[in-house]
C-alpha cells in the first residue's frame, strides 16, 4: 500500500460483508482448534443420561446418609431407600462474567444462566463474588447496580443499588438471590451488573489475566417440587 492509503491489515474491510463473515468464522474455528491442538472438532460427546446421573447421585447420597447412621457397617446389596425429603435434587450453578464493557469509572458484567433456571429450578440463594485489586489500603466506595430488562423497551432499568466500602485487596460478596430469582421466566436468563469504581482502581476483570480472580455468581438451586393434587 502506498503511503497514506489503507494498511494491508485493513484489507478485510474491502471484502463483501458475507464473504468477510465466512472468512472470520473459518478463522475463528481454525484458531481455536489450533490452540487446543485438535486436528478437528471432537465428535459429539456422550454425556451420561440425565436419569442415570440422577440415580447415581441419589445412590451416593443415600449411601452417605446410611453410612453416617451406622458407622463401621459395610453394605452390600440393594440400595437403601431414600428418606422423605431426600428425593429433592439440590445443586450449585456457577456463572462467570462475560462480555464486559467498561470505562475508567464504570464496569458492566454479564452473567448468563442456563435455560433450566427459568423453568424447573428453584433458586435458594445466590451470591456475587468480586475481586478487587485496590492500590490503596483505606476503604473506598464502590456502587453495585443490578440491572434488569425494561419490559417497555430495549433499555435496562435498575433493580437494586448497593454501596460498599471496599477495604484493600480481596474478595467481596453480595447477595443477588432476589435478582437471580427474578430471572425465572426469561428465555435467556442473564444478570447484568454495573459497577462504579474509583478512577485509579483496577477493573474487577484482572488485567494480568489472573483467571482465579474472575468475577462469578454462585447460585444454590434445587429442582422444583411438582404440584400435588389431593382428592377428597
Amino acid at each position: 500500500a502506498a503511503r497514506g492509503e489503507w494498511c494491508p491489515a485493513c484489507g478485510m474491510a474491502a471484502l463483501a460483508p458475507g464473504t468477510q463473515r465466512d472468512v472470520l468464522l473459518a478463522l475463528a474455528k481454525q484458531s481455536i482448534l489450533a490452540k487446543l491442538r485438535l486436528p478437528a472438532r471432537p465428535s459429539s460427546p456422550q454425556p451420561p443420561a440425565r436419569g442415570a446421573l440422577l440415580t447415581a447421585l441419589r445412590r451416593l447420597r443415600a449411601q452417605r446418609s446410611d453410612t453416617a447412621a451406622s458407622p463401621g457397617t459395610l453394605r452390600d446389596g440393594p440400595v437403601p431407600q431414600l428418606r422423605p425429603g431426600m428425593e429433592l435434587q439440590e445443586y450449585e450453578i456457577l456463572s462467570f462474567a462475560e462480555s464486559a464493557s467498561s470505562t475508567s469509572r464504570s464496569v458492566c458484567l454479564h452473567f448468563r444462566f442456563s435455560r433450566e433456571l427459568s423453568g424447573s429450578t428453584e433458586v435458594l440463594q445466590a451470591t456475587l463474588y468480586l475481586f478487587w485489586a485496590s492500590p490503596r489500603p483505606r476503604a473506598q466506595p464502590v456502587t453495585i447496580r443490578l440491572l434488569k430488562p425494561d419490559p417497555m423497551g430495549p433499555n435496562m432499568t435498575v433493580a437494586s443499588e448497593t454501596r460498599l466500602e471496599v477495604q484493600g485487596s480481596g474478595w467481596t460478596t453480595l447477595d443477588v438471590g432476589p435478582a437471580v430469582r427474578s430471572l425465572s421466566g426469561q428465555e435467556t436468563p442473564r444478570l447484568t451488573v454495573e459497577l462504579d469504581v474509583p478512577e485509579d482502581w483496577e477493573s474487577p476483570f484482572p488485567a494480568d489475566h489472573t483467571d482465579s480472580h474472575w468475577p462469578f455468581v454462585v447460585a444454590q438451586a434445587r429442582a422444583r417440587t411438582p404440584h400435588r393434587v389431593r382428592r377428597r
Binding site: A1, A2, R3, G4, E5, W6, C7, P8, A9, C10, G11, M12, A13, L24, L25, L27, A28, K29, S31, I32, K35, L36, L38, R41, P42, S43, S44, P45, Q46, P47, F96, E98, S99, R112, F205, H209, D211, W214
Partner: protein, 114 residues
Amino acid sequence: GVDCGGDSRMCCRQEFFVDFKEIGWEDWIIQPAGYHMNYCTGLCPLHMAGIPGLAASFHTAVLNRIKAASAAAAVDSCCVPTQRRPLSLLYYDRDSNIVKTDIPDMIVDSCGCT
C-alpha cells in the same frame, strides 16, 4: 482504544461475535456460548502511529499473513491489537472428558496504530 461505529474510518476495534451454536459447536464447547473475535480495522495516518504493544500472538500471525499476501513491501502504520485477554473454554475433549483451558491473547480489547 476506540470502538468502531459511525462514519469514522480511523483505527478502531470492530466487535465480532462467533456464536458457537451458529457454527454447530455448542455440543462440545460447554462454556462460553461464543467467542468475541474482535478485530482491529481502520486507517492509521502517520500522526497516529507509534502506539506500542504489539507482541507475538495469533493476531500478529494473521497480520503477517496479510502483509505477506500484499504486493507492496513499504507500508504505513497499521491498526493492530494493543490489549488482549485470554479466552476461557470449558469443553469435551475427544474422550468426552470435560476440560477447562485458557487460550491467551484471543480476545482483542483495544486497538491502536503501530
